[in-house]
């Protein structure tokens, strides 16, 4: 009997110590026993200790062959599933979340303004503007704005194009650069947690 299993990257178990296959993977099989496979218990959180644990595809194979000896499993997903166990469902209030969001917003707003100004003084942009002006007109004395205004417009356009949106209006359908970074970061965190979880299991 051919069974196709697609393990997920991560499963968050809140207040439940028994983990079944249906929690951590999607299952397809040609027979009618998908229900039976789904309800196989794959993992129990030891001592109810909060933390991260890993279940490998091999564990799934072992558990399924215990129930159905003639099963032939094919993995179409992840090799290891990260299980994060929490004793109870933690809910942060919406107001607190907004406070956090505004906090991050202000950090980024003030920080980026400082970053761009420190770049300007670091790279001596005003001097470079003087140089440009004398390149065209022979003297460095220029009214403020000839270069600064188009430069600022260019900077605004550049930032908007780079981040691919202004406010909520998106320019194209691509994800924005930091959204891409966010996905990469989350993947790295899962990888690292899996690493340390399997290290801990080996030490035991």
């Amino acid at each position: 009997m051919d069974i196709y299993i697609e393990p997920k990257k991560k499963f968050l178990a809140e207040g439940r110590r028994l983990i079944f296959i249906k929690d951590i993977a999607s299952v397809y099989c040609s027979g009618t026993s998908a229900e039976k496979i789904n309800s196989i218990q794959i993992f129990t959180v030891p001592n109810g200790a909060e933390g991260v644990y890993s279940v490998s595809f091999l564990d799934i194979v072992k558990a399924v062959s215990n129930e159905i000896p003639q099963a032939k499993l094919t993995n179409t997903g992840e090799k290891e599933v990260l299980i994060e166990y929490k004793k109870e469902h933690k809910k942060t209030s919406k107001a607190f979340k907004y406070v956090q969001m505004i906090f991050v917003f202000l950090i980024l707003l003030c920080g980026t303004a400082t970053a761009i100004m420190s770049f300007h003084s670091d790279a001596q942009i005003p001097q470079i503007f003087n140089g440009y002006y004398s390149m065209f007109f022979g003297s460095e004395e220029h009214s403020k704005g000839v270069l600064e205004v188009p430069y600022s417009i260019g900077l605004a356009v550049g930032i908007t194009v780079f981040f691919n949106h202004f406010g909520k209006k998106k320019l194209t359908e691509d994800p924005t650069p930091i959204e891409v970074q966010m996905t990469a970061y989350e993947d790295e965190v899962i990888k690292n947690q899996l690493d340390s979880a399997s290290k801990k299991e080996k030490e035991k």
């Binding site: 942060t92 979340k97 956090q100 969001m101 906090f103 991050v104 917003f105 202000l106 950090i107 980024l108 707003l109 003030c110 920080g111 980026t112 303004a113 400082t114 970053a115 761009i116 100004m117 770049f119 300007h120 005003p126 503007f129 440009y132 002006y133 065209f136 007109f137 403020k144 000839v146 270069l147 600064e148 205004v149 188009p150 430069y151 600022s152 417009i153 260019g154 900077l155 605004a156 356009v157 550049g158 930032i159 908007t160 194009v161 780079f162 981040f163 949106h165 202004f166 406010g167 909520k168 924005t176 650069p177 930091i178 959204e179 970074q181 966010m182 990469a184 970061y185 989350e186 965190v189």
Partner: protein, 142 residues
Amino acid sequence: MNIIKHLFLILTAFSSGMIIAAGICAFIAVIGVVPRMAAKTQTPDKIKFYETAIILGGILGTLNLIFKFQISNGFLAVPAMFFVGIFIGCVAVSIAEVLDVIPIFMRRSKIKRGISAFVAAIAIGKAAGSVIYFILPHFYKL
């Protein structure tokens, strides 16, 4: 002739702005400060909101080249500088982290434990350095 020269000047300045903007934003995006903040506050779905902050911050910082902003309430400087400090702190540590200084030193010295102590040491060291820089004479001149 003068108009053509001015047009070229404007074009040069505009292009400089676009390229520099992309450079600075790529720096902030790649260094990974924002994903960390979003993960810490559990708001990874609000990335666009944070990017708007970066866009506005970049524009504000540049407008400072043209207008000298005057904010009448001087006390606003306290929270503003607090936020700037957090941002610079995150970026400074991110640079060290991206360059893999800490992992390489830990591997070379074969120390396996005590990352938390090292991180605390870095934080205290940076804060002490900042205080010394601003308070002792000879370091900081306006």
